[in-house]
């Protein structure tokens, strides 16, 4: 499906990627320049998207436009089709009707997914696991340097030579984030990436997600069952019910956001009441 749209990217993009300097200290300034030089995020347009499994219609016509660089959260009760929508956007499944377009040709490396499970290769060291994220550039000469830089971004540079089995759940998920980031994706899809973490680790991971999103400017799509997480992170919260977008809520709170502020709490309350009223109907 989308692979048909993904052809080649301008040469300049590849060239600028290859010029990265490995030192962590210069990363930040360089990134600023890079952001000005190119818009990193991709816009996303979905028209009349339908998907069914056997005789169960999961998505019944989704129409959605996400501007480049927006952070969108998708919430809904379990089985509402939110994860399916994410998998379709990421190109992991085929759909029956409708279209998904990114406004221009994209490469596989431009769209990355992060799952609830870290899905690290247990037989590869942390650094090698991050290198997997480079896609076709895995064997290029600067693979190590780029992977190391991504590891530094998620704060795990000192774990580069460890086996994944010795890391904690939160650390594994950070490695998975590093692997998703290493190819400089322009759309990053999160499928409940923090669902299995404890409350404190989850908050620090939310901060990390927000920070890398602000630094890199990719378009972020986060599926979550935690409404407070959705309002804390997203510019916009979509409530999905019975395969359609039931509510589209904009979150205008300034960043960095204060967790538990009255503004976020009232927004969270209203989204929860939408979800619960949907629950009552069934």
């Amino acid at each position: 499906m989308q692979t048909a749209l993904r052809t080649t990217l301008p040469e300049t993009e590849l060239a600028s990627r290859a010029n990265f300097v490995p030192q962590a200290r210069v990363v930040r300034e360089e990134r600023q320049e890079e952001r000005q030089a190119q818009t990193t995020g991709l816009p996303l347009s979905i028209r009349g998207l339908r998907k069914s499994f056997v005789d169960n219609e999961v998505l019944r016509g989704i129409d959605l436009h996400i501007p480049a660089g927006q952070f969108v959260a998708i919430v809904g009760k379990s089985g509402c089709g939110k994860s399916t929508l994410l998998r379709l956007i990421a190109g992991l499944e085929k759909f029956e009707a409708g279209s998904i377009s990114f406004g221009q040709d994209v490469q596989p490396e431009d769209i990355r997914v992060m799952f609830q499970e870290p899905r690290l290769l247990p037989w590869a060291r942390v650094l090698a696991n991050v290198e997997v994220g480079l896609g076709r550039d895995r064997s290029s000469g600067d693979a190590h340097a780029r992977a190391e830089k991504a590891l530094t971004e998620v704060g795990l540079a000192d774990k580069r030579d460890q086996w994944p089995s010795v890391l904690s759940g939160g650390q594994k998920q950070r490695v998975a984030l590093g692997r998703a980031l290493v190819s400089r994706p322009r759309v990053l899809a999160f499928d409940e990436p923090l669902g299995a973490l404890d409350a404190l680790t989850r908050i620090s991971m939310q901060r990390l997600l927000e920070r890398v999103w602000r630094d890199q400017g990719f378009t972020a799509i986060l599926v979550t069952h935690d409404v407070s997480e959705a309002v804390a992170l997203a510019d916009r919260v979509l409530v999905i019910d019975e395969g359609r977008i039931a509510h589209d809520v904009t979150v205008n709170a300034a960043r960095p956001r204060e967790r538990g502020s009255a503004e976020l709490a009232s927004l969270e309350g209203s989204i929860l009441s939408h979800l619960l009223s949907a629950e009552d109907r069934t």
């Binding site: 990421a90 799952f115 037989w123 590869a124 997997v132 086996w163 089995s165």
Partner: protein, 268 residues
């Protein structure tokens, strides 16, 4: 890993230098008791010769060069048979684990053949190959084939599908997916197959050499029986035990080298 290995003792109980020796306490004690029993006449030497007599017999055979030659012949048969049978088993395991078509085509047949005890084929094998080298190699290869085939197949089929999906998302080609995800994931199971196969390898070889051979350890034991040289008979049995232990240790070393990522092989 055996149960005893996985139940770790508290750190204070482990003296690192003694640790490697502990496993030899029981075999050495048995030999000591055996020696005492033979010397005091509790066990008649016609039934079981003293360990010292066995060592002496071993020394004589070593000097004549007969022992080394026979061990070499047996070792050679075991390794070649293992390589042939294990190689074919591994290839079928890979093919049937990766391709549905191949599995449909051959798995049923292989499962039927598996249920025939391969030693039951000895009369047939003697008719086919005589008591030639090929007879022994055929039997060893056949015995080794199934544990390696089954465990390779099982290992590949049980690789975490989430990891395979991850590999595909990150743009791995089929060969890369095999090299980076499927093969390493199947490796622990393949090693289980190898260790099973090593046991079957020696068993098959002993039986084949005692029944139909003109050289090798089994043949040496059978010849000794004809001349009532009970010390040589016991010697060959002990050498089999040592060779079996050696093969097992070799596979453990390999396991440790290749599975160092596995939590079970990491230093506690």
């Amino acid at each position: 890993m055996s149960l005893i290995d996985s139940v770790s003792l508290p750190r204070s109980f482990r003296l690192p230098r003694v640790d490697g020796l502990i496993q030899w306490i029981v075999p050495l004690a048995i030999i000591a008791i055996w020696q005492v029993a033979s010397v005091t006449g509790f066990v008649p030497t016609r039934v079981l010769p003293a360990p010292s007599d066995v060592v002496l017999a071993g020394w004589k055979l070593l000097l004549s060069g007969e022992l080394v030659r026979n061990i070499w012949v047996s070792f050679w048969r075991a390794s070649i048979g293992f390589l042939i049978g294990g190689g074919i088993g591994f290839a079928f395991g890979l093919a049937n684990g990766l391709s549905q078509l191949s599995a449909k085509l051959t798995d049923t047949t292989l499962q039927m053949v598996r249920n025939v005890p391969h030693l039951a084929l000895i009369p047939l094998v003697i008719l086919w190959f005589g008591i030639d080298e090929s007879a022994k190699l055929f039997l060893v290869a056949l015995g080794v084939f199934f544990p390696i085939y089954l465990n390779t197949l099982h290992g590949i089929r049980t690789v975490d599908p989430q990891l395979i999906e991850m590999g595909r998302i990150y743009g791995m080609t089929d060969s890369e997916l095999f090299r980076r995800v499927i093969f390493p994931g199947a490796l622990p199971s393949i090693f289980v197959g190898i260790r099973f196969a090593l046991g079957i390898m020696w068993l098959t070889l002993i039986v084949a050499e005692t029944i139909a051979a003109s050289s090798g350890l089994g043949y040496m034991a059978m010849q000794a029986r004809e001349f009532m040289l009970i010390d040589v008979v016991v010697l060959s049995i002990l050498i089999y035990a040592l060779l079996g232990k050696l093969a097992d240790s070799a596979s453990r070393v390999l396991e440790r080298l290749t599975l160092s990522w596995h939590p079970a092989f990491q230093k506690r």
